[in-house]
């Protein structure tokens, strides 16, 4: 059976949905950030799939994935540092404890 573009897009969609469900259901802040990173990974797989299958001569999708990777890393570092600053006051990992910045 031949693997088509839609197989890869389906995997990206499933990863994105797992990330969405996880970010809605979990209460731990760090697990919430991990779920967001899983969503971002699904989006990156979709970018690479379109770049590989749609006749991309300039590697546009590949370059965009590089930007998204850097942005995701910066976003995660900022979010974890904010969480650490707030954790020092409230001593809780539960996301419902953090109702104000």
């Amino acid at each position: 059976m031949e693997i088509t573009m839609y197989h890869y897009l389906f995997i990206g969609l499933i990863l994105f949905l797992i990330g969405v469900i996880g970010s809605v259901l979990v209460k731990n802040v760090i697990k919430l950030l991990i779920a967001i990173e899983i969503m971002l990974t699904g989006i990156n797989i979709n970018f690479i799939t379109f770049a590989a299958y749609c006749g991309n001569d300039k590697f546009d999708g590949f370059v965009l994935v590089l930007f998204y990777t850097a942005l995701g890393a910066a976003e995660l570092a900022v979010a974890l540092y904010l969480f650490y600053l707030m954790f020092r006051k409230k001593e809780s990992e539960n996301i419902e404890s953090y109702t104000e910045l």
């Binding site: 890869y8 546009d60 930007f67 900022v78």
Partner: protein, 167 residues
């Protein structure tokens, strides 16, 4: 690009299983380990889609650097909170099944259906030059904007640190 169904289905099984485990396991350390496996499986996807450069970047940043940051934050925070005990039996079963399937496929099925040297093109000079043209010519403003954002992040960290130290 490697258009092989065996590799695709193994990578799909691994990435979906580890993503589900990383979201639904209660212990945060096991969740982080499964997330690392998700990121490595995503780098496998990038590789079989023909983007070796992105696969290396994904494995280096998401597979190694980001788990270190998350692990440090877990060390600084979770030790003070209430610790949770959880059975690791589902994770062990999943790891065992994944290893068994990978061993079965790599030993029995893969040698007949997959020839690495024929399918993987090693034209890394073209790939790197295309990436460089994309970053430094076609998307130079996006690249500059990203650099500016990262500089703002570093400056923000420094300001937070200074204000936190004073308080």
């Amino acid at each position: 690009m490697i258009n092989n169904p065996v590799v695709f289905y193994i990578a799909s099984f691994l990435i979906i299983g580890f993503a589900l485990l990383s979201v639904f396991l209660k212990n945060i350390i096991y969740s982080l380990l499964c997330a690392v496996m998700v990121f490595f499986s995503a780098s496998i996807f990038f590789y079989i889609l023909g983007s070796e450069y992105n696969a290396i970047i994904q494995a280096a940043i998401y597979g190694l650097a980001i788990p270190v940051i998350i692990g440090l934050s877990i060390m600084f925070t979770t030790g003070k909170a209430k610790s949770r005990k959880e059975s690791i039996l589902p994770m062990i079963i999943f790891f065992a099944c994944a290893l068994f399937i990978m061993a079965f496929v790599s030993l029995v099925m893969l040698p007949d259906s997959f020839h690495v040297m024929e399918l993987v093109p090693f034209n890394s000079y073209d790939v790197i030059s295309e990436f460089a043209r994309g970053i430094y010519i076609d998307y130079v403003w996006a690249f500059e904007l990203l650099s500016l954002l990262l500089t703002i992040v570093i400056a923000g960290f420094t300001l937070f640190r200074i204000k936190g130290g004073k308080s």
